[in-house]
C-alpha cells in the first residue's frame, strides 16, 4: 500500500493535529460567546426604533454571515479537492456542510423571530431572507448528493461541482430576488443599516460573529476527524489509532 500512503499521507498527520486544535477552538468559542452575550445584553443600549427586539441581531447577523461564509469556504475546499485531487480538502468540504446548514437554519428562525415584532409577519419575501432560504436548499442538496453516492471519490467530485455551481448561482439568485422584490414592494426596515446603530451594538455583533467562527472551526475539525477515520479505516495509521484507544 506504499502508493496509497505516499499520496494521501496528510490525513495521518492531520488527524492528531486536528485532535489537539479542536478543544482550543471550543474554548475560544465559548469564551467569546460569553463576552459577546454580556456586551449584547448588558452594554449595548436599547435601539431607538426597534426597542429590545433588536437584540436578536446579535445571533441573527453572525449566523447569516457564517452561513454564507461557510458556503464559500466549503465550495473552495471542494474545488481544491476536485482540481488537486487531494482527499483531505474534499473531507473538509463535507465536514463544513452540516455546520453551514445549521447556521442557515438559525439565521432563518431568528430572522422570523425578529420579523414578527418588527414587520408584523413571521416571513417576509425580502432578498436576504429568500436568499438564505435558497442557501439552505443548496446545503441540503449538497449533503443529499454526497450521501447518495456510495463511491467516495465520485461523491467528492460530484459534490464539488454542485457546490461550485451553487456558489456561482447564489449572487445571481440574490440579485434577481432583490430586483423582483423591489418591483413588488419597496424594501422595508433594514436590520443593520439603521442610523441609531451604536458602536457597542456593532462590537457585540462582531464578537458574536467571531465566536460563531471559532465554533465552526472546532466542530468542523471534530467532524473531519470522524470522516478521516471512516474513510481510511483500513489504513495503517487508523489501525494504530484504534490500537492505542483500546
Amino acid at each position: 500500500m506504499a502508493f496509497n500512503l505516499f499520496k494521501y499521507s496528510s490525513p495521518a498527520s492531520f488527524y492528531p493535529l486536528a485532535g489537539k486544535m479542536a478543544p482550543l477552538f471550543y474554548v475560544l468559542a465559548a469564551t467569546l460567546a460569553i463576552v459577546g452575550l454580556y456586551i449584547s445584553f448588558f452594554v449595548a443600549p436599547t435601539d431607538a426604533t426597534q426597542g429590545e427586539a433588536y437584540r436578536i441581531i446579535f445571533i441573527h447577523v453572525p449566523a447569516a454571515w457564517m452561513s454564507m461564509f461557510i458556503y464559500i469556504v466549503m465550495a473552495i475546499w471542494a474545488g481544491l479537492g476536485l482540481i488537486l485531487n487531494t482527499r483531505l480538502s474534499s473531507m473538509m468540504a463535507q465536514a463544513l456542510a452540516p455546520t453551514g446548514a445549521m447556521f442557515t437554519v438559525v439565521a432563518l428562525i431568528t430572522g422570523a423571530f425578529w420579523g414578527k415584532p418588527t414587520w408584523g409577519t413571521w416571513w417576509e419575501w425580502d432578498a436576504r431572507m429568500t436568499s438564505e432560504l435558497i442557501l439552505l436548499f443548496l446545503y441540503i442538496g449538497y449533503m443529499s448528493l454526497t450521501a447518495a453516492i456510495d463511491d467516495v471519490r465520485r461523491a467528492d467530485k460530484a459534490g464539488a461541482i454542485l457546490a461550485m455551481v451553487g456558489g456561482i448561482n447564489v449572487p445571481i439568485i440574490y440579485f434577481s430576488v432583490k430586483w423582483w422584490n423591489t418591483l413588488h414592494q419597496g424594501a422595508s426596515v433594514s436590520l443593520t443599516r439603521s442610523p441609531s446603530m451604536a458602536k457597542t451594538m456593532l462590537l457585540g455583533m462582531l464578537i458574536m460573529a467571531i465566536a460563531a467562527w471559532m465554533y465552526s472551526i472546532a466542530v468542523t475539525l471534530s467532524r473531519v476527524r470522524l470522516l478521516m477515520l471512516e474513510r481510511e479505516k483500513s489504513s495503517a495509521w487508523v489501525q494504530e489509532v484504534l490500537e492505542k484507544k483500546s
Binding site: 448588558f42 426597542g51 427586539a53 425578529w114 467532524r223
Partner: protein
C-alpha cells in the same frame, strides 16, 4: 445597560418571547449538532474497534 430587575430583563421591553425564543432555538440547534456529532463519534469508534477485533480473530 442596566435592567433594574430580573423581570425587566426577562420581559425585554415586551419582546421577551421573541428575543429569548430565538436565543433558545439557537442553543437547541447548537446542542443538537454537538450531540449528533458525539453520537456519530461513539458509533464509529464502536464499529471500527469491532471490525479490528474480528480481523484479529480471523
Amino acid at each position: 445597560m442596566n435592567w433594574g430587575s430580573l423581570s425587566n430583563f426577562i420581559d425585554m421591553g415586551g419582546r421577551g418571547f421573541y428575543v429569548w425564543g430565538s436565543y433558545l432555538i439557537t442553543l437547541v440547534c447548537i446542542v443538537f449538532e454537538l450531540v449528533l456529532l458525539s453520537r456519530q463519534k461513539s458509533a464509529l469508534w464502536q464499529r471500527l474497534t469491532q471490525i479490528m477485533k474480528l480481523n484479529k480473530q480471523g
